[in-house]
């Protein structure tokens, strides 16, 4: 419960930071859209229409109140520019975000399903055969993947799997009509990129968590009571490693989501990250705020889940004395 409320406080604090950051940015949507030659009165009129003339604190609480009701406001761009035009073309932020959020969740979800089991298996096996050539090459390669920036990894994949050996498309444009198989095919390269950038860290941390536990006395005891290698790892080491491992996974899933901003841009994938970049460019405040808030809450939720796993997997916390 304490963790949950702390999480809420974090999200709230984030919302303040997000809101104030964008409020203090030079220039706003009005000057941006009307161009440099705009008359002062035109800018003023547009500001009044968008509510930008109100003081920031008022705007913040208006926005927050609406967010609580599930209303993230309307996007600035695409709204009717002509006064009195009945056909309001302004788009609800929610309507704009939801399909893209689904796309991003699909992308990161697939990448996570690939990355988590792979890094667990690699990490555990590297721990088992510690200091072997296999272990050394696995940890060495993972260090390279962790340290390369995501756009670099993405371009390497494009070079290898799209240009030199054209297996997958470089542009991952999917729409409502795409079938599942099509989606998998088109998102292959961004999925690979996201997998690779997070796998290294997860694998290394799994390895060190297991190695740490393998040197403890109850592991020697398990060996001396005749437990097989498999039993030692799966029955004796792993249950004690879930807490650190789940923490690392949570951090990396969050990192994956943030990494998707760059990766979606590179592969022109219609996800929330790309939407955010575009909206920042346009000073489209409601959209940017909503995206940032989603990122922040995902991070908090993932960490909460990791904490929960840590508690459930530890009898010390689950069953007090």
């Amino acid at each position: 419960m304490l963790r949950l409320s702390l999480g809420l406080v974090t999200v709230f604090a984030f919302s303040v930071i997000i809101f104030s950051t964008f409020s203090f940015l030079p220039g706003d949507f009005a000057t941006e859209i009307l161009g440099q030659s705009a008359t002062k009165s035109a800018v003023k009129a547009l500001r009044a229409e968008l509510g930008l003339d109100k003081p920031p604190v008022t705007r913040y609480f208006d926005w927050l109140g609406n967010v609580f009701q599930g209303d993230f406001g309307s996007s600035f761009s695409g709204r009717s520019k002509v006064q009195g035009d009945q056909g309001d073309r302004s788009r609800e932020v929610v309507g704009l975000i939801v399909p893209r959020l689904k796309n991003t969740l699909f992308l990161t979800g697939v990448a996570a399903m690939l990355a988590i089991p792979l890094s667990l298996i690699l990490g555990i096996s590297a721990a088992l055969y510690r200091n072997s050539y296999y272990d050394r090459s696995a940890t060495g390669v993972s260090l390279v993947t962790v340290s390369s920036p995501e756009f670099f990894t993405a371009y390497i994949f494009i070079l290898l799997l799209a240009t030199l050996f054209p297996v997958f498309p470089t542009i991952s444009n999917v729409d409502e009509a795409s079938t599942l198989a099509e989606r998998f095919y088109r998102t292959a390269l961004p999925v690979f990129t996201l997998t690779l950038i997070t796998m290294g860290h997860m694998m290394r941390m799994t390895r060190s968590a297991i190695i740490n536990i393998l040197s403890s006395e109850y592991i020697e005891m398990a060996k001396l009571s005749g437990a097989s290698r498999y039993e030692v790892i799966v029955k004796h080491a792993l249950p004690n490693a879930w807490a650190p491992i789940s923490q690392v996974i949570a951090i990396n899933l969050a990192y994956m989501l943030i990494g998707s901003v760059v990766v979606e841009y590179v592969f022109n994938y219609q996800g929330i990250g790309r939407l955010m970049v575009g909206s920042v460019y346009n000073r489209d405040l409601p959209v940017v705020q909503a995206c940032a808030l989603i990122f922040a809450s995902t991070y908090v939720i993932l960490n909460l889940i990791a904490d929960l796993i840590g508690i459930i997997s530890n009898p010390r916390l689950l069953y007090p004395k």
Binding site: S216, E217, Y218, E220, M221, A222, K223, L224, S225, G226, A227, S228, K235, H236, P239, N240, S313, N314, P315, R316, Y319, K321
Partner: protein, 537 residues
């Protein structure tokens, strides 16, 4: 200790050589040790740390720790040479034919599983009996080991039971598959004396009951005397001597064997002093919301040694923390040399800090591993006395001489010192502040008997030369006899008794002092039997 033991050979280890890898090179741990064990017989394996006794015990299973390897030798168990078996074949013997009871039960149980599941896991692997049968049997074992609530204790997790109980459950776990041999590796070393008695008697009776052979590894001769039929003494990876328990105790052949109980022969004449260095009055202290000290009052006479004894959890170390200011008291006051000390460390003057020093139990963790001896001892000299440069170096060397080391140690790191040398450096560090009161918190309990003796003698010599006052915190009565003038007995955060050594160690005793004193193992193979008879009558 049945006399009609069969003479059927169970284990025969011949010419065992084992090397270990540490500090970038291979060391010899065992240099050709032989060992024989008959069915139903208990062999005591004793020696100091580094003697190779634990390695030998594990080698009896054909197991070596990571970083060690068997160079040569035969390990014939029931006619099979364990040294020649593969890992896979050995696993069929481990836990079922030979089982192992480790020193630290708290660390040797997997924290993630219930005790019952761990108790029967090895027997379950045999697939002879169903899980239900095994569980019933385990409950019976728990009962015969006198565990409370034997029916349900197996449903708990390791952190939910006490250390003494865990050690007995581990014995049940070892016994569950009815092995032919059990290796007990220092099973009671981590326990309080009062708990040790219970665990020892439980282990002895169950081993007797099933006529299981056992190797009992310990550094405590008095303990092994209660358990073993025969005793083998190891030193530096070689055998010193081997004899029947009674012969060994009444007539040890080697000088080294005699020295193993030398601390017990060290006795200091008591003296007291009406002038108090430190008085603590009506102290209450707590960690968070749990109160650990209740109305504790102790007087420490100037230039004398007061031993605070009690089992773990009795509040003796907490008392030390309160005196040093690490844990401010809730109530009561501390008078140091006639002046009231502020409870909080931050509010004490540098001079007050200088005059009270503390030496800890584990010299390994009490020193910065990256500092040289010169830096470790030199810093307090500089900090408290403001002496620098050449003068400081001279002072460090003087201190090293005082602790019977010399200037060749100046550039060494703690990792390049033996356990006893490390503790000497810690003593020198405390002396560097030129203190009036030194609190010694279990300073000898991590050390071997002979090294203990050296440290205790050194502390006595320093007291005579420098007139420092000691508070000596310990659970070991032999150490108390060796060093103290006065004794304070603590139990569950309260002072049971305080007085001159002769008064405390002689009847009439309050109940708790009686229990504590009678639980200290004596160098008499019949001690445990007599004690149990006396207690049950």
């Amino acid at each position: 200790m049945t006399l009609n033991k069969s003479k059927e050979l169970l284990l025969e280890m011949k010419n065992i050589h084992i090397d270990g890898f540490s500090d970038e090179r291979w060391h010899k741990i065992l240099k050709g040790v032989d060992l024989t064990l008959h069915r139903g017989e208990i062999l005591g394996l004793i020696g100091e740390s580094g003697a190779g006794k634990s390695t030998m015990g594990k080698a009896a299973m054909g197991y070596t720790q990571p970083g060690c390897k068997i160079i040569k030798g035969e390990i014939n168990f029931n006619g099979i040479d364990l040294a020649k078996l593969t890992e896979f074949e050995k696993r069929k013997i481990w836990g079922t034919k030979i089982s192992y009871v480790a020193q630290s039960a708290a660390a040797s149980f997997n924290p993630a599983h219930r005790l019952m599941d761990q108790t029967i896991s090895a027997a379950n692997r045999l697939k002879i009996n169903s899980t239900d049968v095994l569980k019933k049997d385990a409950v019976q074992l728990y009962e015969s080991l006198q565990l409370p609530d034997a029916e349900n204790i197996g449903d708990r997790y390791p952190h939910q039971v006490s250390g003494g109980q865990l050690q007995r459950i581990m014995t049940a776990m070892a016994m569950s598959p009815r092995p032919e041999l059990i290796i007990f590796d220092e099973p009671t070393t981590a326990l309080d004396v009062t708990t040790q008695v219970e665990v020892l008697s439980a282990m002895r009776s169950i081993v007797d009951k099933f006529n299981t052979a056992a190797i009992y590894i310990t550094h405590d001769l008095a303990v092994v005397a209660q358990m073993a039929d025969r005793i083998k003494v190891l030193r530096y990876g070689e055998e010193v001597e081997e004899a029947e328990t009674r012969d060994m105790l009444s007539n040890p052949k080697e000088e080294y064997t005699k020295s193993l109980w030398s601390v017990r022969s060290l006795i200091k004449p008591e003296e007291t002093n009406e002038d108090y260095m430190l008085s603590i009055k009506n102290i209450d202290a707590a960690y968070g919301s749990s109160k650990v000290l209740h109305n504790v009052s102790i007087d420490i006479p100037k230039g004398k040694t007061v031993a605070i004894v009690g089992e773990s959890g009795s509040g003796k170390s907490t008392t030390a923390r309160v005196i040093t200011g690490l844990l401010p008291q809730l109530k009561g006051e501390i008078i140091f040399d006639g002046k009231k000390l502020s409870p909080k460390l931050e509010q004490r003057s540098k001079e007050e800090l200088r005059r009270i020093q503390i030496i800890f139990q584990m010299p390994d963790t009490a020193m910065n591993p990256r500092q040289t001896v010169d830096e470790i001892i030199g810093r307090p000299i500089e900090f408290y006395q403001g002496i620098k440069g050449k003068e400081r170096e001279a002072k460090v060397i003087e201190l090293l001489k005082m602790i019977e080391l010399d200037e060749t140690f100046l550039d060494r790191l703690p990792s390049e010192l033996s356990g006893g040398q490390k503790q000497r450096i810690c003593i020198a560090r405390a002396l560097a502040a030129n203190p009036d009161l030194i609190i010694c918190d279990e300073v000898t309990s991590a050390l071997d008997q002979i090294v203990q003796e050296g440290i205790l003698k050194l502390l006595q010599k320093l007291q005579k030369d420098l007139g420092v006052t000691y508070i000596f915190i310990t659970h070991d009565i032999a150490t108390v006899k060796a060093i103290s003038d006065e004794i304070v007995v603590m139990y569950q955060g309260e002072v049971v008794e305080q007085g001159l050594k002769s008064k405390i160690l002689n009847p009439p005793y309050p109940d708790y002092t009686e229990l504590l004193l009678s639980s200290v193992p004596e160098m008499d193979p019949d001690w445990l039997t007599n004690l149990l008879n006396k207690r049950s009558s």
